[in-house]
């Protein structure tokens, strides 16, 4: 293994913003997961009565939207754009960045938006093509452009699309850009809106979704013996990360340190992860090495924990491989048990939960964890939050296509709510 470069910039988190099925704003989202509150219920966004899966975790429609420059206003026509705008505005307001121009970049995790199914059917029959503005706002890069315009960011701008790993990697890539000196601050995060007929159909056909139509509130049960799939969710999470020297110079309130990023690829199968947890372990080991930490330093793991039979056992095997005996001691939970799976947004939203866990000394639970699967021999946090100091937290994200991302969030001395 290589040694991490000894000399580099430290990167801290000075702003966070989120919209999840628990609500609009970080406070609502954090309160929801700490209280172990369910958000999963019948789909209201369309008539799902005859669909194979009829429940999801829908994000609330924001009541007010920030003003955005006219050239990107069309992106707000989609819920995805609205969630991105609101979460980004919250993070920017918290960070209070000065104008940084080309020294401020944006790196987001996002996937392409889907057309409305009825419109698609009509267009396919008539041969009519979507307009340029519609295409533009459906692009994965649309939220990136939106947020860059809102913030006046003129620095490096990019969009990661690696399915469920997208926003974990976007945070990590932002970290690398600041360390590298390409930018002094980065807006990082992700957004996804998945509760639409096409996605419900696609994931149902794959057999990836829970089928508990009769009892949606218990459907997402990561690491439980009786889990049967994940639940589609929606949301956005953004973080403002910046060079420590800049943050100190301008007197910013530091929430936590972004101290490590690890990334690996399963190189296995498109939708499956290796049962031995190899890829997950490699990602966690790389993140620990990058942060200069050992397993003994980790006090909390926010697992990818999708609630699929395959992911959870593979991830648990990976945690055991990466952390050894420490795996049985580190409190571990999956907030997807409450928020559903936010796919391209999950890595960033769960990184925010880790920021708050280090700040507040409280770790969210895994809801619905009634009978832990023996194949997942971890120290779970079942059904009720756990209080205790969190020096460093790991957060995992693993995606179709095989990409794995792990972030290390470290407590900042003096950070408080």
């Amino acid at each position: 293994m290589h040694s991490p470069p000894p000399a580099r910039r430290r990167v801290v988190i000075t702003g966070i913003g989120a919209v999840t099925p628990h609500g609009v704003g970080v406070d609502a989202c954090w309160a929801g997961v700490i209280e172990g509150r369910n958000t999963i219920g019948p789909i209201s966004r369309f008539n799902a009565a005859s669909f194979p899966v009829r429940f999801a975790a829908e994000a609330p429609e924001p009541e007010t939207l920030p003003e955005v420059p006219p050239e990107v206003a069309h992106i707000l026509l989609d819920l995805k754009g609205r969630l991105a705008a609101v979460a980004a505005a919250e993070a920017l307001a918290m960070a209070k960045l000065p104008p940084l121009g080309a020294r401020l970049g944006v790196c987001l995790g996002s996937e392409a938006a889907r057309p409305d199914l009825a419109e698609l059917a009509v267009r396919m029959r008539s041969g009519e093509l979507p307009g340029a503005l519609e295409l533009d706002r459906m692009s994965p890069a649309a939220p990136t452009r939106l947020v860059a315009a809102m913030a006046g960011a003129l620095g490096p701008m990019s969009t990661v699309s690696t399915a469920c790993t997208s926003s974990s990697q976007s945070v990590g890539e932002g970290l690398l850009r600041i360390r590298r000196g390409e930018a002094d601050a980065m807006i990082v995060g992700g957004v996804d809106v998945l509760v639409d007929p096409i996605m419900v159909t696609g994931f149902s056909k794959l057999g990836a979704l829970s089928q508990r139509n009769d009892d949606p509130a218990t459907a997402s049960r990561p690491f439980d013996l009786h889990r049967d799939g994940f639940v589609l969710g929606e949301g956005a999470g953004f973080l403002i990360i910046e060079d420590l020297e800049l943050a100190e110079r301008r007197g910013a309130t530091i929430l936590a340190e972004l101290s490590g990023f690890g990334c690996s690829c399963n190189a296995y199968r498109i939708t499956d992860s290796p049962p031995d947890g190899r890829g997950a372990a490699q990602s966690m080991e790389a993140a620990l090495e990058d942060a200069g930490l050992s397993p003994e330093d980790i006090d909390y793991i926010n697992a990818h924990g999708t609630s699929t039979p395959m992911n959870d056992s593979s991830e648990a095997a990976g945690i055991v491989r990466a952390l050894g005996e420490r795996a049985a001691e580190v409190p571990t939970s999956s907030t997807k048990s409450m928020t559903g799976h936010l796919v391209a947004a999950c890595g960033a939203v769960e990184a925010i939960f880790c920021v708050l866990a280090t700040r507040d000394g409280v770790m969210p639970p895994t809801r619905n964890l009634e009978q832990p699967d023996p194949a997942c021999p971890l120290r779970h946090i079942p059904n009720a939050a756990l209080r205790g100091p969190v020096r460093h937290a790991l957060t995992n994200a693993f995606g179709f296509g095989g990409s794995n991302g792990t972030l290390v969030i470290s407590r900042w001395p003096g950070a408080s709510a």
């Binding site: 996937e111 009509v122 990019s158 360390r179 696609g202 794959l206 190189a267 296509g401």
Partner: protein, 261 residues
């Protein structure tokens, strides 16, 4: 606290060891000069992609990308000397939302004189959709299939930023090797826009893929600085819109055409 700041980061020497090219002018060095918008002449996916089962799940852009990764790795010839975790892959790609044509039978079932009936789509249409339809539409399929084919277990990313995605991938590949996160990085992009002319305002479109292999320079090997767009000579040919393959193809043509190295 972790990651102390003690000074500027040390970078390792990086060399460009191989370049693959599939573009409307041809495959390999043949594709380095001339050309016009259109398909990659003579590209037969089955000749390049032994994974027959996987091939059925690959769009044209993914087929081009997987083939180009294979060619780049073969030309480099050193992959087997490295542990899988030290092999990186960075890809620029266009979003693949799934081929709408694959949904046509299901949509037709639900579209009647009164309009689209979502309930009928769910009751009678969904069964007509292939179970792996969603997988075929993943934006990161070049990364997924190529990493599995060559056991590339290291750091990676898939960039969807229109034409800039492939350029970002090239830079990330170089950075990953220079910064010590990988010993070899395959980096480039792939796209296939033929048929999308109407969506793109009538401009001529093409298809292509190109991947570079960056690796740690060995003693005596040429050291390549971090790429920048300004170093690329003008490409006198119009190959049409190449989307995420634009910059990788330009870079590969510049190298193979003798204008860059």
């Amino acid at each position: 606290m972790s990651s102390p700041v003690v000074g500027p980061q040390t970078l390792r020497p990086v060399t460009l060891s191989a370049v693959s090219l599939f573009c409307p002018a041809g495959i390999g060095p043949e594709g380095a000069r001339g050309g016009a918008p259109g398909p990659v002449p003579g590209f037969q996916p089955v000749k390049w992609i032994p994974d027959r089962k996987g091939l059925k799940l690959m769009s044209r852009a993914v087929q081009l990308g997987v083939a180009a990764v294979r060619q780049a790795i073969a030309l480099d010839g050193t992959l087997d000397e490295l542990p899988p975790l030290r092999r990186a892959l960075f890809v620029g790609a266009s979003p693949q939302t799934g081929d709408p044509e694959d949904l046509r039978p299901a949509l037709d079932k639900a579209l009647g004189p009164a309009g689209f009936d979502l309930d009928k789509f769910a009751r009678e249409g969904i069964d007509l959709i292939h179970p792996l339809w969603l997988v075929k539409g993943l934006s990161n399929n070049v990364l997924g299939f190529a990493s599995a084919a060559h056991d590339l277990q290291g750091t990676n990313a898939n960039w969807c930023d229109g034409e800039d995605g492939g350029w970002t991938a090239i830079l990330e590949g170089w950075d990953a090797v220079a910064e010590g996160r990988a010993d070899l990085a395959v980096a480039g992009g792939a796209d296939a826009l033929i048929g999308a002319e109407g969506l793109l305002g009538g401009v001529a479109c093409g298809e292509g893929a190109a991947f570079l292999v960056w690796r740690v320079a060995r003693p005596g090997e040429r050291v390549d600085p971090r790429p920048h767009k300004g170093q690329l000579p003008p490409d006198g040919s119009d190959l049409g819109r190449l989307g995420a393959a634009t910059w990788p193809v330009r870079y590969a043509r510049a190298v193979l055409g003798g204008g860059l190295r």
